[in-house]
């Protein structure tokens, strides 16, 4: 007589009889099915509000759609016109200056500030929170605050005058308007990047730093040889969001200068907006949007390549 009890009859018995591999596969299918079901609303949202509008934008970029009537197919005409448009060339130049001059100081300052602020302590916590305040404030509200700061007789004007620098029309003079915008966006984004770098630094293995200290490495050497290479992924993340954010920046120029004076601050998104909703050239604006997207993709890919180079080897 066998000591093994006879297996009970019914579904449980059938499951028990299945080989282990089949059971695992069925469980995986069920898990995958639930995962797909749960992500479906988000996927649908993504398709409706991102994929389809994107496809529509690409389609419109080959038409003469003017926010009324039919969209007539014009082939590559809008793209050809991009090459001959002096206003666009000015906007590209302005956007390049704005991107480089706002991203480089923001990222550099944030990294430098994060080094001491990453250390534990109540004061550091307070400072980190304080730096984050501009980042969590709505951009429109901060822009209006800076309009007041830059106004004649405003904080910037009176401070400079008090220091003997005389009066400057911060937003009205084409020599200073762009720099005024850049100062504002550096102030606005600094706190967020400090927070990201702080989290990155706090996640680094302390043993490496202790070993370096035992070997007599100085602070500067430690920073360039250990901290920076280990922070590469964080730096990549910050750079990608900083560059794409700067290239898409619309609110500061729209609210502070409207692209002026004399187009000195007409960044690409503002030029795109003017074409779409000012001149109602939706087809041309769509072509601009497609090119802007491609440029951002290329820049992001280049950043990935440079900063992740060597990681895979």
């Amino acid at each position: 007589m066998s000591l093994v009890r006879a297996a009970p009859a019914g579904p449980a018995a059938r499951v028990a009889k299945r080989p282990e591999g089949q059971r695992r596969s069925a469980r995986r299918r069920r898990t995958a099915g639930a995962g797909i079901t749960l992500s479906l609303p988000v996927a649908a949202f993504f398709v409706v509000f991102w994929v389809l509008p994107f496809c529509n934008t690409v389609y419109l970029s080959f038409t003469d759609y003017a926010l009324a009537g039919d969209a007539n197919w014009v082939g590559l005409e809008n793209y050809r016109r991009l090459l001959d448009d002096p206003q666009l060339h000015n906007s590209i130049k302005v956007t390049a200056i704005y991107t480089v001059c706002s991203v480089v100081p923001t990222v550099a300052l944030a990294l430098l500030a994060a080094l001491p602020l990453a250390r534990p302590g109540k004061v550091n916590g307070l400072l980190r929170a304080g730096l984050l305040v501009p980042a969590v404030m709505p951009f429109v509200a901060t822009s209006i605050i800076w309009v007041i700061i830059y106004a004649d007789g405003g904080l910037a004007d009176t401070t400079l005058d008090g220091l003997g620098g005389g009066h400057i029309s911060w937003l009205g003079d084409e020599r200073y308007a762009m720099w005024s915008l850049i100062v504002m966006v550096v102030w606005k984004h600094l706190g967020l990047f400090v927070l990201i770098f702080t989290a990155g630094i706090q996640g680094l293995d302390r043993d490496v730093f202790e070993a370096a200290a035992l070997d007599g490495a100085k602070a500067v050497r430690t920073f360039f040889s250990i901290t920076l290479p280990l922070l590469r992924r964080t730096l990549l993340f910050v750079l990608v969001i900083a560059v794409t954010g700067a290239m898409q920046s619309f609110i500061p120029a729209y609210l502070l200068t409207q692209g002026g004076p004399a187009n000195a601050t007409e960044v690409l998104p503002l030029y795109l907006y003017n074409n779409a909703f000012g001149f109602q050239k939706m087809g041309y604006a769509s072509a601009l949007a497609v090119v802007l997207l491609l440029v951002m993709l290329i820049l992001s890919a280049a950043q990935f390549r440079v900063l992740r180079g060597g990681e895979d080897e």
Binding site: T37, V147, D152, H167, G172, D173
Partner: protein, 440 residues
């Protein structure tokens, strides 16, 4: 809960995509009421005249404190006289107004009546967003008969390709605003404002200090509407910007270059003014500027100590010595979008607003002019409006073209470039002509 099968998932995805496509389709050209005359069938001719006004009218206009009150009273009166009509007004901040209207036109949700800048009318008409006026509703047998009820040229800003698309309201000829107190301080006679551009230049020299922190004439820089007004006056009228046929930009001709040289030589473009020139003028930083009737109210609100007639005054826009008088002008208009399903009642309401009896409160309490025949009689007690009436025969609305917005932006850039000194007048004028070449 049963596990979703692949078929279920595919079906749900397909449904989601279809719903999404439908939603997007609503935003896609050609798939919706794009305002191309697709409103409900409207009665015409005698039927329109006989149609009884009824239904709800959605009326949009830009916010304006004084006119808001006047309009609400008129609305009550209209609803009392025509109890089958409900008027639903919406007052929108002027800075957001054009965008809001454009969104409504594109989305097929335009109001029944809207106040729009007549300078945008050509573009809206070309895009079939506006309904032509129905003379019968105005108890006129033809548009000519209707036009005869207005001052000569009164309907010019609302006429596109020979058809009338609205009735002018908030009609303005522009003034030279000047500070009497600054004139006195500089030893100039405040009762003798400059009459020519040459005099403006001479006066400006006396009113400008060495570091240009106080100036005489200050241009309104960076504002498209005002760039058109100022250059229309300086370049010898509409023909000085786009030529007499309006099909070719001619700013690089001597008159245009002279105008830009003049702009570069006066004022201080580095002084920023967020209030269309009125901010610096209100503070006394500038002693002269260009503006319209609205500025008088704005200035006294902005600086409570300022009093019109005592501290500042208005004068006709100067002319070049030996040249013709040009009074840059602009007008808003009451229009009926083609997407309105109640066009007859909408025109009825517009007609009712134009009646002389209803004109009086609009003029007296809000300074809103409609150039109907005899309107100057309504403004006997108002010096600025009297001046406007006197200048009306010289009104020049500037180039009225479909790509007005692009032209105005190009003029703004041109003016700013020469005023900031980043381009020579000759180069800026040439760049403007080239830029307009691809637009016209």
């Amino acid at each position: 809960m049963t596990d979703p099968t692949r078929r279920h998932l595919l079906r749900a995805s397909a449904a989601g995509l279809l719903a999404g496509s439908g939603l997007l389709g609503a935003c896609t050209p050609g798939s919706s009421d794009d305002g191309s005359g697709s409103g409900a069938e409207q009665p015409k001719g005698k039927a329109a005249a006989a149609a009884k006004p009824k239904g709800t009218l959605f009326v949009w206009m830009h916010e304006s404190g004084a006119y808001h009150k006047v309009f609400m009273k008129l609305r009550e009166q209209y609803e009392r006289e025509f109890p089958e009509v409900t008027v639903e007004p919406q007052f929108i901040p002027v800075g957001q107004y054009d965008t809001k209207l454009l969104t409504a036109f594109t989305g097929g949700t335009s109001p029944d009546v809207c106040k729009i800048g007549a300078w945008h009318l050509h573009d809206h008409v070309a895009k079939q967003r506006m309904a032509p006026l129905v003379p019968e509703v105005f108890k006129a047998s033809s548009t000519d008969e209707l036009a005869a009820r207005f001052e000569p040229g009164g309907l010019e800003p609302v006429t596109v390709n020979g058809k009338i698309y609205g009735l002018p309201v908030d009609f303005n000829t522009v003034f030279l605003l000047y500070r009497r107190d600054r004139f006195e301080d500089a030893g100039l006679d405040p009762d003798r404002p400059p009459r020519t551009w040459e005099e403006v230049e001479a006066f400006s020299k006396r009113l400008t200090n060495s570091d240009k922190s106080k100036v005489g004439m200050q241009w309104v820089i960076g504002e498209p509407q005002w760039s058109v007004q100022q250059l229309t006056a300086l370049a010898g009228g509409t023909g000085g910007i786009l030529g007499d046929d309006g099909k070719r930009a001619v700013l690089s001709r001597p008159a245009g270059v002279k105008a830009l040289e003049y702009v570069a030589g006066l004022g201080n473009a580095k002084l920023r003014d967020p209030l269309f020139g009125a901010g610096l003028f209100g503070k006394g930083t500038s002693a002269m500027t260009f503006s319209g009737y609205f500025a008088i109210d704005m200035l006294t609100t902005y600086n409570k100590k300022l009093k019109f007639g005592r501290d500042f005054d208005v004068a006709p826009v100067p002319k070049w010595s030996g040249g013709k008088q040009i009074s840059p002008a602009y007008s808003w208009c009451w229009s009926v979008p083609s997407g309105s399903s109640n066009q007859t009642t909408a025109w009825h309401f517009v007609n009712w607003l134009q009646d002389k009896e209803r004109q009086r409160p609009q003029v007296e309490d809000a300074g809103i002019i409609s150039p109907v025949k005899g309107w100057p009689e309504l403004v006997k007690g108002d010096k600025a409006l009297q001046l406007m009436a006197k200048e009306q025969p010289h009104a020049d609305f500037g180039p009225q073209i479909k790509p007005w917005t692009e032209m105005a932006k190009a003029l703004t850039d041109t003016m700013a470039a020469v005023a900031q000194g980043s381009q020579s007048p000759k180069a800026a004028a040439k760049a403007f002509d080239q830029r307009m070449g691809s637009v016209l």
